[in-house]
């Protein structure tokens, strides 16, 4: 789960990380109170959306004086933001963060994440902060320094010292950086984060070390014991269909194609997306009917996919070990009646009572094509969608 920059900063502050003074607002008039409270010549006005690259898209602005702040906030709230990371979609800005601006001397990069290769947490740092780290890795890999911790091990003081020296820091500034690094790492560990990225971690002209931006995402599996994080979820950031899927415990991600998918198992879901692409189509979604593929869950998932207006045809691919295909087929026919199915639906079922299931689908009176193999299913749906 992702959270906003201001939420991440509030969390980091509790772990002793130095963040700029700031406040979140939802209404332009609140900007007046916040700027007088900050009492700074220059402030940053930052649109809060879950996407990087806001600066390049007008989502971040340095303002001088209260008038400019209010004017900027008025423009920003309600604005549709498209950044290099939002893809084709736009995000509507509903809240804006106002914080003290700093005199930046150096911009550094610092990130902690779970490293799938080692199973432990890995720290990635660079002297070249403030820009796209993927580009830095490509153009100047030597400027990136990593610390790979063994699974279950912590970031210790000696790691923090080594990192601060690698970043070219000295004396009091190095000490301040170390304190911040340990704070960020402790937050990562205590809050079950999956990734915390500080870009930039700035050294100011006054010799302060301060986290100017922060992106944080958390381990969904641990939210049950991280209530304060779970409560930070901003539903505006999610596709409405994804939110509804989550309520049904369905593992759903909206994609850009037009073939709706419903599959059991994440691996089989991905493999089904792959085979559709192989035959020239494109999936409208990833959908793993996680857990038991019961007729009720299958029907709920089916109705959800059907509601997506991008979907021109649906492919259902279920390989059930234990479940009875006739039950699943009946669930699908009932759901088809409910929605008045008028898009092509191709179904591949594997499990017990396959023949009975196939017969139910064939005789349903709806445009349903049951097929025996995954390969045929993919070919068939790609063709049907092309024809329509």
């Amino acid at each position: 789960m992702d959270i906003h920059e201001y939420q991440a900063k509030q969390l980091l502050a509790k772990f002793g990380v130095n963040i700029p003074a700031g406040e979140i607002i939802y209404q332009p008039h609140e900007a007046v109170t916040v700027t007088s409270w900050l009492n700074e010549e220059e402030v940053m006005v930052k649109a809060q959306v879950h996407a990087g690259g806001r600066g390049k898209s007008g989502g971040i602005k340095k303002c001088t004086g209260q008038e400019e702040v209010v004017e900027t906030v008025e423009k920003m709230i309600g604005m549709k933001l498209k950044t290099p990371q939002t893809g084709d979609k736009q995000k509507t800005v509903t809240r804006v963060y106002i914080e003290k601006a700093h005199n930046i001397q150096t911009e550094l990069y610092f990130c902690v994440l779970v490293d799938r290769e080692t199973g432990g947490n890995t720290i990635i740092t660079s002297k070249k902060g403030g820009m796209d780290i993927e580009k830095v890795a490509e153009n100047d890999p030597d400027s990136i320094f990593k610390v790979k911790l063994s699974p279950g091990n912590k970031l210790l003081n000696h790691h923090a010292r080594t990192i601060s020296y690698e970043l070219g820091l000295k004396g009091a500034v190095a000490k301040k950086a170390q304190k911040n690094l340990i704070g960020i790492y402790n937050a990562f560990e205590k809050l079950d984060a999956a990734m915390i990225e500080i870009n930039p971690l700035a050294v100011t002209k006054e010799g302060e070390v301060v986290a100017l931006d922060c992106k944080a995402s958390f381990d969904d599996n641990a939210l049950y014991r991280q209530r304060q994080i779970a409560d930070m979820k901003d539903e505006n950031e999610y596709d409405p269909l994804e939110l509804e899927a989550a309520r049904h415990d369905l593992n759903y991600v909206k994609l850009d194609g037009n073939i709706g998918l419903m599959v059991n198992g994440a691996g089989l879901s991905m493999a089904t997306m792959d085979i559709i692409k192989f035959y020239g189509g494109e999936a409208a979604n990833f959908m793993d009917v996680a857990g038991a593929a019961t007729p009720q869950r299958v029907a709920a998932a089916f109705k959800l996919i059907y509601r997506d207006s991008d979907v021109k045809g649906i492919l259902i691919n279920i390989f059930g070990g234990m479940m009875r295909c006739n039950d699943i087929a009946q669930g699908l026919v009932d759901a088809s009646k409910e929605v008045g199915l008028d898009k092509p639906l191709v179904v591949r079922l594997e499990g017990t009572n396959v023949e009975m299931g196939m017969d139910i689908l064939k005789n349903s009176g709806f445009p349903i094509t049951p097929v025996p193999t995954m390969e045929q299913a993919a070919k068939e749906i790609v063709e049907l969608v092309k024809k329509n």
Partner: protein
Amino acid sequence: MAVLITKESKIICQGFTGSQGTFHSERAIEYNTNIVGGVTPDKGGMKHLNIPVFNTVAEAKKKTGCNASGVFVPPPFAADAILEGVEAELDLIVCITDGIPTSDMQRVRREMKGSKTRLVGPNCPGVLTPGVGKIGIIPGHICKPGRIGVVSRSGTLSYEAAVQTSSLGQSTIIGIGGDPVNGTNFVDALELFLKDDETDGIVLIGEIGGTPEVEGAEFIKSWKGQFKKPVAGFVAGAAAPKGRKLGHAGAIVNSGAETADAKKEALKSAGVIVADTITTIGEAMIKAMEI
């Protein structure tokens, strides 16, 4: 003799009396698996499915001589259950539970350093040796005794592989699971199958994320002379949008080696016959056997 589950295995189920533990233990018993006991705290002394229940793994081991366990314990308690089995020095623990916090599994990994126990999973379909027994949720009727070892990160894709290799049959099917921090990996499973004289060929099914497939490919490359077995592979996720989950920095950790294409290339360069789609993994295995 196949790997991990053999005729000698004495198996218990942790989380035995829960709904998942009960359901899948029933299926395992139907499959003639040698289940000698179950563990549920506070329910020791009773019988469930006509099998004795114990309070702790240590007690189960003392009374039954069990050497393997299937863990069906809910996510908040699963890491502790695994470590209980490690403490009791079981040979094999297969954790089916999905949804264990990553930091819990990191702790398990650290505590298991130097232990003699092998962990498979978590978030996996388990292990099945056709005709002998199973731990987990792999449906028995789709598997046939034979000489192909199957190792897969995804459960349902291991089922596809089992069905498609029906003509050859399988020695053992190992689902290693898809979590970021897990126990047995491709290299471990490949090593088991390489040493197993009842396995003639291996199907390896990977997916995007992490680099265990690349490490598996490196290991296959090191096979020399007689100690070589044909391998067929597939990697799911070629059509998946990049960086949807971990976002930004995740992509640079291992410099592009986590994509499906990179993994397929790595496997090909190790001589693995790589299937374009999951539906041709059986053909790929047959082709690999003929070379």
